[in-house]
């Protein structure tokens, strides 16, 4: 279980990384937290000719709250968000989701942006990105562009990134004050990729009626899905398949159950916040 030979580059600034990636094209892979790439290299499932290691570009290791938006740099570890009490207090869905991501050791190394760029449909950050209408700031030699999360995920481990591009920042608009949000999932064990996950945001009017609701489902399709915020309808929005952990029929029923529970919990939290 040793990786195939590869060239190793460790740029110290973003411009150098972008130039390297452009030169390498499809033959280069970015290394950030390494929580998915390293096992894939060792299993020889990924065999890039070159690795561009971002870990020395410390300028990308940041996160901050810009008004209502959580801004996360490409080298920000998941654990940094987990330890930011202000962020957790502002968005219950994020607070719910982070402890479900692997284990502390994984979150210490794994980056938020790396999880997004890896585009595993069962992973938590892509579901949060779709739920919260996040945008991904992407840079290449041709310049910078923004991609909405719903346009970013194109399939299983596939994104809208072009050869030579990297995600430099993710921007998560947080739910408005008074909204409730929630993230729940079912996994075989704590920390596993979810059999299915649901995340919801519910907003209420002053009279307690629901004014807006959002629902995102992960693990049921090749990409995280923004679904109709109604359990029965949401279940019809997903197209699960069989795997070794559960058959498709189970997953379809699970989509409905989790959708209902996530919406219910988000609504309860909104009501509590409104009191």
């Amino acid at each position: 279980m040793k990786p195939a030979p590869f060239e190793y580059h460790a740029p110290t600034d973003l411009g150098e990384a972008v130039r390297l990636l452009a030169a390498l094209g499809e033959h280069g892979r970015l290394l950030a937290g390494g929580q998915s790439l390293m096992p894939m290299l060792n299993l020889r499932l990924a065999r890039p000719e070159a690795i561009v290691d971002l870990n020395r570009i410390t300028a990308l290791a940041y996160h901050r709250l810009d008004d209502e938006t959580l801004v996360i740099g490409a080298l920000c570890r998941q654990r940094e968000i987990e330890r930011d009490q202000e962020v957790l207090a502002r968005c219950a869905a994020i607070a719910d989701a982070i402890p479900l991501i692997g284990h502390i050791g994984i979150r210490n190394r794994g980056t938020v942006v790396g999880s997004l760029a890896h585009a595993d449909p069962s992973a938590e950050w892509p579901v949060l990105a779709v739920l919260l209408d996040a945008t991904l700031e992407v840079e290449g030699v041709a310049g910078r562009r923004s991609i909405a999360a719903q346009d970013f995920f194109k399939g299983l481990f596939a994104t809208d990134l072009r050869p030579g591009e990297l995600v430099v920042e993710a921007r998560f608009p947080l739910p408005p004050a008074g909204a409730g949000s929630a993230f729940i999932e079912v996994a075989r064990r704590h920390g596993d990729f979810a059999l299915g996950a649901a995340a919801a945001v519910v907003e209420l009017a002053a009279d307690g009626s629901v004014t807006a609701a959002r629902l995102a489902l992960g693990g049921f399709d090749s990409v995280p899905v923004r679904a109709t915020p109604d359990p029965a309808a949401a279940a019809a929005d997903v197209h699960p398949v069989d795997d070794v952990h559960a058959p498709a029929g189970y997953r379809r029923k699970l989509a409905e159950t989790l959708a209902r529970r996530a919406l219910h919990l988000a609504e309860q939290r909104a009501r509590k916040a409104g009191r």
């Binding site: 284990h103 064990r189 070794v244 952990h245 058959p247 209902r260």
Partner: protein, 803 residues
């Protein structure tokens, strides 16, 4: 101060917890070559051609070996270590030896079988070159379902095994057929224990270094003597030219109780190249090319009366051997001898077949047939209760063997050929104590109320018996050395069990010293002429007996020598603090060091008339038969009926392992075993698809329980029945933990959902399995007398959102 019975901290742990242990990869011999294997990607195929030319010219490559290259130099392993002993004739066993090729010669028989070995200056280069070996295969139809594989027309795995039935046996006690025919009630169930693997923390690994004509082999194995003998036989050299030693090991659990092709081949290559050669198994290899386990499908019938007394069991089961079941008596016959557990069941019939298929071979794994048997038996008990609408605890109680019936004769032989006669008692008292500890009565009172609040809580129960300390023998040798230290050698092969500490406690008491002062060495074929190894809950029983007996012999010897020195009768002497002293006059005596000098050959010797020199004694313990431990287990679970998620809240276990030498170590054994049992119940599954491809080849898909999945564990040791079948009064405990969790947890889930009469007869109990069982039971209508269909009160009311 008596050391036996104390919670002595393990003396062997310091290097293990400070990263200074010496495992196979830690050796640093100059010029060591590393091996990577090219393994079959197909379940069954003819090898048409192997082209190694490109790989041979790759950077760092020293040599490549294929099956045809070694055909005339290295023989296949033919494993026949479990031939039926005298006394087993009534079981009519038929056993074909298991054949395991070193490298596939003309045909591959499972995904992962080694086809070529690439030897290079580093593992990186070896793996790079392995990708360049070109092999043309002609894929053949594979036998994958053991029930189909035994029928005419199925693909044959080995020509010498007709119909792929590698082993079979039958047991008849009483007349189960007649009892079933005349039964008041009967039921039939199909019950499966899935294929799992031991998944030790350390994978396998072997390093061989040859100097002159002698090769030292460091292998991560549980059976160094058998490995030595098999290597010598396979490569055709005298056994004395091969020394097998175990370095530090990260567990085995039965997966390392076999001799493997890699051990033979790495030794052979080292002797050909005259270089140190090493292979360290990676995790993917471990999952496809190290022994799997369990994988039994039972068709069981039970006869019972209206009070729940079980009058007969008739079982027919098939064990999926994969390409070999090297231990059919352990893996399959143990099922028969442990099946009826703590119950009085007069009529018993069982027919077993181990059937070859094109999968990895099947080895005994912690519990070895007992978890499979216990799962069937305690699922049957639970189904009887369900059928009669009785409380499962009541049905268990009615079937338990009473103390006045002990020692209970089961009417059949153990796998060693001796009759199964329990040397334990106190079954009903242990079971009552379990109910008390787990709060069973309270649970029955509050269950309905909890359910109304949306909490589906259940308690499930299981029982087991365990024959431990199986032969054929184990060795012990005790010395006093030149510095006066007490040095112990044994043929066991400790790899995490804490045997250094346990044995040192025993020896410390015998010689009046501390465990820290005892030097314990084991797992090295150079130490002793005979030895066996560590597996089957046997070492404290068998090695312990050999060590205490050799200690007693040595005490007698050194007292005789000291008596000569002190001009005293040996009866008037005692040992203590590293000295032999005059009883009542502790100041008068000689040190062990002085005794050693007096016992040395030569003119300075002061030995009693006729005694040979030396301060060393050996003993080979041959157990009369196994000694029987038992236990009872309860699990408390909460079930989410919508998602099928099972939360194991608590596991309670009471067990008898005879006299306890070190409670700390026994508790650790129980706890670790229970967790492995939880893994096999809820998570673990070695899956092969319909083309024979393994689907779980990393820990992403083969799910082991982690610390997050470990519930509260309550355990209690039952005082009462020290064994009379060995001098220490001990019974084995290493395998007790994993036996009962499958039955206890399955029964707990069933209890949690008890308004429905669900059945959970196939492991693992994944969320999808639980939901499917609920749907099956629900489709048959509300079966509970009250007519209450299970409800999802909390979760069905989605609050205001759906209004």
């Amino acid at each position: 101060m008596t050391w036996v019975g104390q919670r002595v901290a393990r003396k062997e742990d310091l290097p293990l917890v400070t990263g200074t242990g010496t495992y196979v990869p830690d050796f640093n011999l100059p010029g060591t070559l590393e091996v990577a294997f090219v393994r079959s990607p197909l379940a069954h195929a003819r090898i048409l051609n192997i082209d190694t030319a490109e790989a041979l010219s790759a950077e760092g490559v020293v040599a490549i070996y294929t099956g045809p290259d070694i055909r005339d130099q290295v023989h296949a392993l033919v494993l026949d270590q479990e031939a039926a002993p005298p006394g087993l004739e009534t079981a009519a066993p038929e056993i074909h030896p298991a054949t395991i090729e070193i490298l596939a010669d003309a045909e591959v028989r499972h995904v992962g079988q080694a086809v070529a070995a690439v030897v290079a200056d580093s593992r990186y280069h070896a793996e790079d070159a392995a990708e360049l070996v070109r092999i043309d295969y002609d894929e053949l139809r594979a036998a994958l379902d053991p029930e189909q594989a035994r029928l005419p027309g199925a693909p044959i795995v080995f020509d010498n095994v007709p119909n792929n039935v590698q082993a079979r046996y039958r047991i008849r006690v009483g007349d189960a057929d007649a009892a079933l025919d005349g039964a008041e009630h009967r039921l039939a169930m199909k019950i499966r224990s899935q294929r799992v693997m031991a998944a030790p923390m350390e994978t396998r690994g072997v390093l061989a270094s040859t100097v002159g004509e002698e090769t030292t082999v460091w292998s991560s194995t549980q059976i160094p003597w058998a490995v030595r003998n098999s290597i010598a036989g396979a490569i055709g050299v005298p056994q004395r030219q091969i020394r097998v030693q175990i370095p530090h090991m990260g567990g085995g659990f039965g997966q390392k109780v076999n001799v493997y092709p890699e051990e033979v081949l790495v030794t052979y290559i080292s002797r050909v190249l005259h270089r140190p050669v090493r292979w360290v198994e990676d995790r993917v290899e471990n999952m496809i090319a190290s022994g799997h386990a369990r994988d039994q499908l039972h068709n069981v019938e039970a006869a019972f009366d209206s009070e729940g007394h079980i009058t007969a069991i008739r079982d027919r089961f098939v064990l999926d051997s994969g390409v070999a079941c090297p231990y059919p008596l352990s893996s399959a016959y143990n099922v028969a001898s442990h099946f009826r557990s703590m119950y009085r069941i007069a009529n018993f019939s069982i027919d077993a077949e181990c059937v070859l298929t094109h999968k990895m071979f099947n080895l005994p794994y912690r519990g070895a047939g007992r978890p499979e048997a216990a799962f069937v038996m305690d699922r049957v008990i639970n189904a009887v209760a369900q059928e009669l609408s009785l409380d499962p605890a009541e049905v268990i109680m009615r079937n338990l063997i009473a103390d006045e019936e002990q020692p209970y004769r089961m009417g059949m032989p153990y796998r060693d050929g001796h009759e199964v006669v329990y040397d334990a008692s106190g079954f009903p008292a242990a079971f009552e104590r379990l109910l008390e500890l787990i709060g069973y009565a309270e649970h029955r009172r509050t269950q309905a109320q909890l359910r109304a609040q949306g909490v589906h809580r259940g308690i499930g129960l299981g029982t087991y018996v365990e024959g431990t300390g199986v032969g054929p023998f184990e060795s012990g040798q005790v010395h006093v050395d030149a510095q006066g230290h007490v040095v112990v050698y044994s043929g066991c092969a400790p790899h995490g069990q804490g045997l250094d500490t346990t044995m040192s406690q025993v020896v410390a008491d015998a010689f009046g010293i501390t465990p820290e002062e005892v030097v314990f060495r084991a797992g090295d074929t150079a130490l002793l002429p005979y030895g066996v190894g560590t597996f089957a809950s046997r070492s404290v029983v068998t090695a312990g007996a050999a060590i205490i007996e050799s200690s007693n012999r040595l005490l007698k010897r050194i007292k005789a020598i000291a008596g000569e020195m002190l001009e005293m009768a040996p009866e008037d002497l005692e040992v203590g603090a590293g000295r032999v002293r005059v009883r009542g006059v502790p100041s008068r005596g000689v040190s062990f060091k002085e005794v050693y000098r007096a016992a040395s050959p030569g003119p300075g010797a002061r030995l009693p008339e006729g005694m040979d020199p030396g301060t060393s004694e050996s003993f080979y313990w041959v157990p009369p038969t196994v000694t029987w431990g038992f236990g009872v287990v309860g699990a408390v679970v909460d079930v989410d009926p919508e998602t099928g998620v099972v939360d194991v809240r608590k596991v309670v276990m009471l067990h008898d392992c005879g006299r306890v030498i070190n409670p700390l170590i026994v508790e650790g054994q129980i706890e670790g075993g229970l967790v492995q049992g939880i893994g096999a119940t809820l998570y673990e599954h070695v899956i092969y698809d319909e083309s024979g491809q393994p689907r779980a080849t990393t820990f992403l898909d083969y799910l082991l329980p982690t610390s997050a999945e470990v519930p509260e564990i309550v355990q209690e040791h039952l005082e009462g029945t020290p064994s009379e079948r060995n001098p220490l009064g001990v019974k084995g405990v290493g395998e007790s933990g994993p036996i009962s969790p499958p039955a206890a947890i399955a029964n707990a889930i069933i209890d949690a959902l008890s308004p429905l009469k669900i059945q959970l007869n196939e492991l693992p109990l994944s969320p999808a399995t639980v939901v499917a069982a609920i749907e099956r039971a629900g489709a048959e209508g509300p079966l509970h007398p009250t007519g209450v269909k299970i409800g999802f009160p909390a979760s069905n009311q989605s609050g205001g959102f759906l209004r």
